[in-house]
């Protein structure tokens, strides 16, 4: 499988007057057109890693890496137009909460149409048509009506579907989903995941799924990366998660109650300070 | 501006008093209070602009207090032989149309400026505080009535309302002070009310009430001290505006009457000679500008220390 994305030794550091934060410390991984899950707790650097890929890390943050190759081309280039061509068209990202990630003063349809028109020289009417098609693809009923609504008028689940539509309409090869279901009700979560799964399969895309929910990622993704304190602790196929070896992963697994867990208190994860420094 | 971070300064060599003030485990309320004040001072003093503001204000107070000592000439000594003289070694800022030394008049004028702002602050702030806390604490129709009244005063442009009052009361510095104070209290009432409403719901108020504290004690002892910091910030920032309003009234001839060296009035009398003897009108304006600037800088600095969540005007 040719690597769609090849990351080697990615480091992201934030330097403020008070302190220096090393958010990502030497992360390396590669992926093809598969579903890759990145799991970690808050502060593990999982979001920052993906934002670095899209050039979204702004000063005082600095990004260094041996290479960040997407489809063989280095992502970090001085020409801003290069990045603009990549964003949306080849890699895009769905964020956590549509309440905040959608522009409150533009109609939903306009925002999706904008995503289309940036990368395809299309007329307004054609963009509108494509938008409605896309809204149908994310299983929104009455798409013409929804086109003219504003973000505050739609529910969370619908908002996320709109985000997915907006991010998939330019036809990217890689979709990054940064905790896409964390702000949703459990029932709506599964629906949303099903829609995402379908679309990603249909289009033969790669998907990076970031979450703190180990079970969710295990059931949804093909491979899992586990991050802690800016480093990768372990990588394994989803089917073999229960045979993970790194103590951090085992610790996480042990925190989750299973149906056949013996009664009593769940073990508390003990953090080994060695994980902060050592690379597995 | 390179300065050591607060931590470095603190954990470094601590001697006696300093260490006592910065200790993490104060053993009395007084120690805790003084310690907090000292820390606030440390943060404040790192802000260079705020220190400049403080310096200007100190200069103002010093000028007002020591006026007879530092002014080279008496403020009201006409000397027609040197009228409208330009800046020179004898008269650093020149003389006005009656030959009076402008520098001395500005120095003595600082007393009037201080007089105005102190009185306005003393009148307007407590009134606003009282109305605001009562409205916020009592709630209900009393709140509505008081806030409606506040809104009415806020509906007037301040200078115009002050003008109308002075028109009614007659010109003079005391009337100007009253007029300005009447227009200055509404924002304080609003701030006090907002803070009171937030604090009123706090658990510690309920606890105090359970212990038998009556409303007066609750408001005075608990609510008011917490309102104080945002109020102080606002009052300081308003000072600049009050100085400008007072100068405006003076310019229109409605404040301190001649021959008092009120800065606004000095600009007005210098207006006739603007084109040729520009210093007569320019110098008092610079004084007004510097003092207002001082209060603005000081207020900004205080806001950063005491009330960081308050957003810019």
């Amino acid at each position: 499988m040719t690597a769609l994305l090849d990351v080697k030794n990615l480091r992201v550091t934030f330097e403020t007057r008070k302190e220096t934060i090393k958010a990502v410390r030497g992360v390396s991984f590669a992926m093809g057109r598969e579903k890759l899950g990145i799991v970690g707790e808050s502060g593990s650097g999982k979001s920052v890693t993906c934002r670095a890929l899209l050039g979204l890390v702004r000063p005082p943050g600095t990004v260094t890496a041996d290479h960040l190759l997407f489809d063989g081309v280095e992502l970090r280039q001085s020409d801003p137009r290069h990045l603009q061509a990549i964003r949306g068209r080849r890699i895009s990202m769905v964020m956590q909460d549509p309440k905040y990630s959608l522009n409150p003063v533009m109609t939903v349809g306009e925002q999706i149409a904008e995503a289309y028109r940036i990368h395809a020289r299309a007329s307004r009417s054609e963009a509108r048509r494509k938008t409605i098609e896309m809204l149908e693809a994310v299983r929104i009923r009455r798409p013409e009506q929804v086109y003219d609504t504003y973000p505050h008028e739609v529910s969370g689940g619908m908002g996320q579907r709109i985000m997915i539509a907006m991010m998939l309409i330019p036809g990217p090869d890689l979709l990054i989903a940064d905790e896409p279901t964390s702000a949703l009700d459990v029932t709506v979560q599964l629906q949303l995941l099903a829609i995402m799964d379908d679309l990603v399969q249909q289009r033969g895309m790669g998907l990076i799924f970031i979450s703190h929910d180990l079970n969710l990622v295990a059931s949804f993704c093909d491979r899992i990366i586990i991050m802690y304190a800016g480093r990768i602790m372990e990588t394994c196929p989803a089917s073999e998660l229960h045979r993970a070896r790194h103590p951090y992963t085992r610790g996480l697994l042990n925190c989750l109650p299973q149906i056949d867990t013996p009664p009593g208190a769940l073990p508390v994860l003990k953090r080994d300070p060695a994980w902060q420094d050592g690379t597995p | 501006m390179k300065s050591l971070s607060l931590n470095n300064r603190v954990t470094g060599q601590g001697h006696g008093l300093r260490q006592w003030l910065l200790s993490n485990a104060p053993r009395s309320r007084r120690q805790a209070r003084l310690g907090r004040a000292y820390q606030a001072w440390l943060t404040f003093s790192q802000n260079r602009l705020a220190m400049i503001g403080l310096g200007i204000i100190i200069l103002l107070v010093a000028a007002a207090a020591l006026a007879p000592l530092i002014a080279p000439y008496p403020p009201n000594a006409p000397n027609l032989s040197v009228r409208l003289a330009p800046m020179s070694a004898a008269h650093w800022l020149g003389t006005d149309e009656l030959g009076r030394d402008i520098l001395s008049r500005i120095i003595f004028g600082s007393r009037l400026t201080l007089y105005v702002i102190v009185l306005v602050a003393i009148i307007a702030a407590p009134v606003g505080l009282l109305i605001g806390t009562v409205a916020g604490y009592a709630g209900g129709w009393l709140d509505m009535v008081l806030m409606r009244g506040t809104d009415i005063f806020l509906a007037f442009p301040k200078l115009i309302l002050a003008l109308a009052f002075v028109a009614a009361l007659g010109p003079g510095i005391e009337n100007a002070i009253i007029a300005i104070a009447i227009t200055a209290w509404p924002p304080y009432a609003r701030i006090a009310r907002a803070e009171t409403i937030t604090i009123r719901k706090a658990d510690f108020i309920k606890a105090a009430r359970l212990q038998g504290a009556g409303p007066t004690r609750l408001v005075w002892g608990h609510v008011v001290p917490l309102c104080l910091s945002s109020l102080i910030v606002r009052v300081t920032l308003d000072m600049a505006g009050i100085i400008l309003t007072a100068a405006g009234l003076g310019f229109l001839g409605l404040g301190a009457q001649p021959p008092l060296p009120e800065w606004g009035a000095m600009i007005s009398s210098g207006r006739k000679f603007m084109l040729d003897q520009w210093w007569v009108a320019a110098m008092p304006g610079i004084a007004i500008f510097v003092v207002s600037l001082g209060f603005n800088l000081l207020g900004d600095g205080l806001r950063d220390v005491l009330d960081p969540k308050a957003e810019g005007r």
Binding site: A115, R141 | L159, A164, V166, G248
Partner: protein
Amino acid sequence: MGVGSQPSAQGNRAWRYGRKLSTLVASVALTFLGLLFVTFLIGRVVPIDPVLAAVGDRAPAEVYERVRIELGLHLPLYQQFFVYIAKVFQGDFGRSVLTANPVTTDILRVFPATLELATAATFFGILLGIPMGVMGAVHQGRWPDQLLRVVGLFGYSVPVFWLGLMGLLLFYGRLDWVPGPGRLDVFYEGILDPVTGVILIDSALAGEWDIFRNALAHIALPASILGYYSLAYISRMTRSFMLEQLNQEYITTARVKGVSERAVIWRHALGNVRIPLVTVIALSYGNLLEGSVLTETVFAWPGLGFYLTKSLLSADMNAVLGGTIVVGAVFIGINLLSDALYRLMDPRAR
């Protein structure tokens, strides 16, 4: 939960609108009434006897008594207040002692000049202030931001009348770039038929371009001086709003979509900043009405501010109170307008 547009939802919305509107109207009416009350009280505090002011101090007793009854001063205080309110709503502010005209006529004559000045100043503030604020936010900490801070600081510390004088000194006295005080050169006065009272509009309508240019030259300096304060305020607020918006997630979304940085700033962020900015601009306009009192005095600009000042110095209470009420009413009106605009512009508030 989907999108609802059933008839009952629409009816519901209309009902809510109606209620909001009536509360708004009641609130405004109450504030205005309060304004009248305050001016009424101010009028009563005057140490001058209004009857004497009207008839002179050598009038015989019957004339004094007659005028006293005419002015309604024999009625109890609350009744006087009602009469006062009735008169105000009829537009009767009494007669000016100075000009012997009804105050209303005077005000209608002078007010357009103030409007012209305040509007020109606001344009100045908007045209320069918004881009400055945007640049300050985008280049936070660097020189555009520092410049903005300095401009803002000066705007809050420099007295407007002094700045006007210094401006006259420099641009009129020394550089001769602008003509002197007043709205027009004496040469051009009295030629135009006042249609709106705003010389720039009237001269353009009449095709009198010489007059237009002259009026423009005369308004340039006072509008810039007054506009400076508007600039300071608007740019500061724009910067603060922009910083707030640029930190929002939807800006990241826009960047992820591939929107150019320029469009992110000027279309997405500014599109959201516009909304609270409208309120700021309205407030600024109100503040300028205040500032115009002093500016008009410096530039001999025959507007409401100048009128107020002159009336004040002659203790012409009818004129002063009339002017105060008008300014207060305009203030209230502007706040209402900005509120309405806000509701119109923000889809979340509809």
